[in-house]
């Protein structure tokens, strides 16, 4: 076993007060990660994931991520317990037009309380707009589950439009809302962290 698989918490990508991000592992795919995307509670408000999700599917997806430069996906880890509680991603990464779509799933029900989700969206926004120097981030969500976009709105994402009848949910066509935030606005936002630890892979220990 390599050191990286033995203690991936030592390879944190970014460290917050309650959570940290690290790369995803094969063990994650075989663990809670694949179970979350079989849970109706988790998937009912997602646009996709209606099919069965086997451990093999999750491993195949994880393998795809290893070489993808169009999607940055991170494991969200609780700092106190080192438990893998969710997934965050910046997808459709376009380095020419400098944009990406942000998404977040807190799979662990016990961690949907408190500040974990808010801190995760904040950290992903900071990574996208500052570390990756993107011009803007996009967040989308079903109009039937607009609650999920409230975290984004709190951070300053504003509504720019909608995809009409874009998702078929429980027998009805549902619109998708489009929210956006620009780098120039994030730079002066009070919601932006004044400091965010960028861990040094291989040497940083978030604890």
């Amino acid at each position: 076993m390599t050191e990286s698989t033995a203690s991936p918490e030592k390879f944190a990508y970014a460290v917050g007060k309650y959570i940290y991000f690290r790369y995803l592992t094969r063990e994650d795919a075989l663990g809670d990660w694949h179970r979350w995307f079989n849970s109706p509670e988790v998937t009912r408000n997602l646009d996709r994931q209606r099919w069965l999700n086997t451990p093999e599917d999750q491993v195949a997806y994880w393998e795809h991520l290893q070489t993808s430069r169009e999607r940055l996906a991170v494991a969200i880890i609780d700092r106190t317990t080192h438990k893998h509680i969710g997934i965050g991603s910046l997808s459709g990464l376009d380095t020419v037009n400098r944009r990406a779509e942000i998404s977040l799933v807190i799979g662990s029900a016990a961690h949907r309380h408190g500040l974990h989700a808010l801190e995760a969206v904040t950290m992903l926004t900071e990574i996208g707009l500052i570390r990756l120097n993107l011009h803007k981030l996009i967040a989308t969500g079903l109009t039937t589950s607009e609650r999920g976009l409230r975290l984004n709105r709190l951070l300053g994402y504003t509504e720019s439009g909608r995809y009409r009848e874009n998702s078929f949910v429980e027998g009805e066509w549902v619109d998708n809302l489009i929210l956006e935030i620009f780098q120039r606005d994030w730079l002066t936002s009070p919601r932006r962290p004044k400091t965010l630890a960028w861990a040094d892979p291989g040497s940083a220990d978030p604890t």
Partner: protein, 77 residues
Amino acid sequence: MDDEFRALFSKILQLPTDQIHDELSPETAQSWDSLAMVDLIVGVEELFKITLSHEELMQFTSVGSLRGLLKTKGIAL
């Protein structure tokens, strides 16, 4: 002001006002999920005409912690 503060928590967390005390937190109130947290933040900011920074938001772990935070901003409850 304290009555409005309690009423805000009571309305969003769907709890009687007499159950709104300083020790109340996401760990002790089932209804206090991450979306209720957003509603509380927005509600407090509108009530007191303030904007909380990221660092201040990260201190909001209970009713009492928010009360203490507001005190540092000159809002005594």
